[in-house]
Symmetry: C2
Subunit: 201 residues, 2 copies
Amino acid sequence: MKKALVIGGSGTLGKAIVAKLKDFPVEVITAGRKSGDYQVDMTSTDSITALFESVGSIDYVIVAAGQTHYAKLEELTPEDNMISVHGKLLGQVNIVLIGQHYVNDKGSFTLVSGIIKDHPIVKGASSAMVNGAIDSFAKAAAYELPRGIRLNSVSPNLFEESAEKYKGVFIGFNPVPVERVANTFIQSALGIETAQNFKVY
Amino acid sequence: MKKALVIGGSGTLGKAIVAKLKDFPVEVITAGRKSGDYQVDMTSTDSITALFESVGSIDYVIVAAGQTHYAKLEELTPEDNMISVHGKLLGQVNIVLIGQHYVNDKGSFTLVSGIIKDHPIVKGASSAMVNGAIDSFAKAAAYELPRGIRLNSVSPNLFEESAEKYKGVFIGFNPVPVERVANTFIQSALGIETAQNFKVY
């Protein structure tokens, strides 16, 4: 049976992906900072390497985690911007750079970007920057992956489940059910496409 | 008279931008790692701050510099990827984050990304990642800039002037004269648009 590793499996999105994967003949393994079957600190390359060493044979790597820093542009410092760079950008890129040497033939990577890249919000410049980097990295790196391994990113809109909490931030956005976003992660991970930036807007 | 600061003013692109600016009533100041009117190390926030402190009143900030690391994906390490992150991504972003507090009302920032983001090449994943980040940052941050300050990025194709040197790398790309790219930097810097990713393909 194929194996899927969901990193960030205990968040809103991660849980929805794990639930959706139950419809498929796939063994699901979860990893998170503090919860899940395995612990991983995405900001540490040693921790990412240790994760792949521990998990062993793996087919589908799905990332549903990544911290970014929100601040008004005038208050955004180079230092605070690094929270996003390390937390969401490099963490995901390093999962591919390190994981490419572990994932089985015809496996896949699915990364998470976000709608702020296409539709900016106040305080969102750092997050937008990272989302753009993830989409472009996924598109370019996919073509160089060996052994039929695929790579895509998924850019979600605001989740319906978070809409009330963020209604003053994502002004006028039409939220989508997280279940629809999770479905697109499955499409990316288990389907045939590669080098794509899937939008769930 | 308005003042333009061209960072990376002694490279192929920078020189073309400086030459093109001579057609306009703008005082041109150049900065570079080792050449130009001022020296700046884009990887250092202290150096960027010192540049703006030294230059004084400035209207148009144009960046035509940025180092990225080219490597086959299977050989691209997290450490080598940081060359691009520090050299082209954070350097430019920090020029905006720091420079926003110095640039005159109705001034502008113009950053440089690149075609690899849209049309990947072998060994180009790190560069594509950075280009995507720059485009998305420019688009998002622009809307938060105060005092009528504008921000765009320009994504150039391969230069005709470099086409022979890179013919085995940029396979089938239709190169553009660097003079056309320089012209688009002028359009961004001195025009009225903001939050745009200009492509010169």
